[in-house]
């Protein structure tokens, strides 16, 4: 049963920006990854789900209720982490959390305390003096403290260090196990790989691909940069029948897809100095698989 449904959603900002005829549905208890390069329309889509924007055409629903018309009703059981954390500047974190609990008439019980402990957050300092990571943690606590049924998370781990990112992933997995439905936009491969059941990729406001994470992972290709002793060795290495992305002086970039052993055996026969896996963003990896141009 789908909890969140987007059907033919369109909002045209002109000059190709916006979202166009976007449709997908998220099932009960599912963690749905929402990926795409910057400016692809992720946040615009999320604003529609939050009832901030009225669709030009199409509709979106949560629990069968229209996101624009029934937004107040929907918000009762919804948690949201905005892509940008802007608080009221003159409050401390403690004041803000207690304000939000009273404002939304939420009964957070021990939940807030538990979340603060989990993320090792001391919210007593002024919000405007907090680091980006601390603000992000305040945002996370705000989104989860009223124990919502549906969660909309817009790049929830930006600004967090790896330890906290991993704690956040654990939190998402626990919520998933409790049957919560989660939409998460992200750029972090690990986060998506570990939490999401399905992934949708949007680009230029259109749905580019949607599939199970397992299917995508099986077909994933990765780039490796192999550094050899000299340019000649690099040229010879590139002629070994591997999928070569580019050759630059003594470095060869190869694309590997389930055949890492081939690469290793070839490397054994050459004077390899170093090997590195450059950071590829998630969209690039997935879009390569779909034959789209990963570079925008």
């Amino acid at each position: 049963m789908s909890v969140c449904e987007i059907q033919g959603l369109t909002r045209d900002y002109g000059s190709g920006r916006g979202v166009f005829d976007l449709s997908f549905a998220i099932d009960q208890g599912e963690v749905f990854g929402f990926l795409g390069p910057n400016g692809a329309g992720k946040t615009t889509t999320i604003r529609h789900l939050m009832g901030f924007l009225k669709p030009e055409s199409g509709y979106c629903t949560i629990d069968g209720k229209d996101c624009w018309k029934n937004r107040v009703d929907i918000q009762k059981t919804l948690g949201y982490i905005p892509g940008e954390m802007v608080f009221f500047d003159d409050m401390t974190g403690t004041e803000f959390l207690s304000f939000m609990a009273k404002y939304r008439k939420a009964d957070s019980n021990g939940r807030t305390k538990e979340l603060l402990d989990r993320f090792e957050l001391d919210p007593r300092s002024k919000l405007r003096k907090m680091s980006k990571g601390m603000k992000q943690k305040v945002g996370i606590v705000t989104a989860f403290m009223h124990d919502p049924e549906v969660l909309i998370l817009d790049e929830p781990t930006s600004g967090l260090d790896p330890l906290m990112q991993s704690r956040f992933i654990d939190l998402v997995l626990e919520e998933k196990a409790r049957g919560k439905t989660i939409l998460m936009s992200s750029h972090m491969f690990e986060e998506v790989e570990r939490t999401c059941d399905r992934v949708a990729i949007i680009k230029n406001g259109r749905l580019e691909a949607m599939d199970d994470v397992e299917t995508l992972k099986a077909a994933l290709s990765r780039k490796y940069v192999v550094t050899l002793e000299n340019d000649d060795a690099a040229a010879a290495f590139a002629g070994e029948g591997l999928r070569v992305f580019e050759v630059s002086h003594n470095q060869v970039t190869v694309i590997v897809q389930n055949n890492i052993k081939d690469l290793i055996s070839v490397m054994n026969r050459y004077p390899v100095v170093n090997i590195a896996a450059p950071n590829q963003n998630l969209e690039e990896i997935f879009l390569q698989y779909y034959g789209g141009s990963g570079r925008s």
Binding site: R47, F87, K105
Partner: protein
Amino acid sequence: MINWPLYKRGIRGSWKMLIIFAAVITMYFSVIISMFDPALGSALNEFAKAMPELMAIVGMNPESAELVSFLEAYLYGFIMLVFPMLFCILSANKLIVRHIDRGSMTFLLAAPVKREAVAFTQIKVLVTGLFALITYATLLGIVNCEISFPGELDIKSFILLNVGTLCLQLFIGGICFLCSCVFTDSKYAVGVGAGIPALGFILQMMANAGKDLEKIKYATFFTLFDSDGIISGETFAIRGMLALFAGAIVLFSTAILIFSKKDLHI
């Protein structure tokens, strides 16, 4: 309809500004009231006689030698128009459009609180501030006069004058708040929200300046606030006051409606 936690926050956010305005008003009231001289006519009156045009521009031309007329002329033609107006401009901007512009509105709307309730609560914060400021001025005027000139002040007329000022300021607050809801950008909201009342005020000053320009008074809502007429209890002046009040209600209601229906890129 009202959200109390948000209201409390709004009040906490305005009291510093209110204290500053109250301090400025206290200073003006004390100085001006001390200049009143029931026997001789004050130094200010002499000044008004010497340069009637200049003083008339800022509304400082008392109709009679009564204390209430004196206050009306020297305090309610400029000080009590401009300072509460500034409060409206700053407050209205802070309550809505600044949250949209910065993005902090996100947290107010990512909660089961109707947009109508958010706007209504913020209006209530603005109105509370205005009410407090003008009530303070009223009490300040009465106490000050009773200490310096016991029994001289026509308290009933003075209170009516302040009610009239409140109606005018509510109308101005309505304009500012409507702009705060219509625009998405703080600078346009302040530009238009401050521009309309400022223009109205300048037009009134021009209309006061001389016979040739008197017709300008039909182009500004400040004409509805006839302070001379209010203290002498003229029906027309009272009607103007009620018109301003009704106008304020229309402006605030429109603001709520627009805020509830608008697209927010937050």
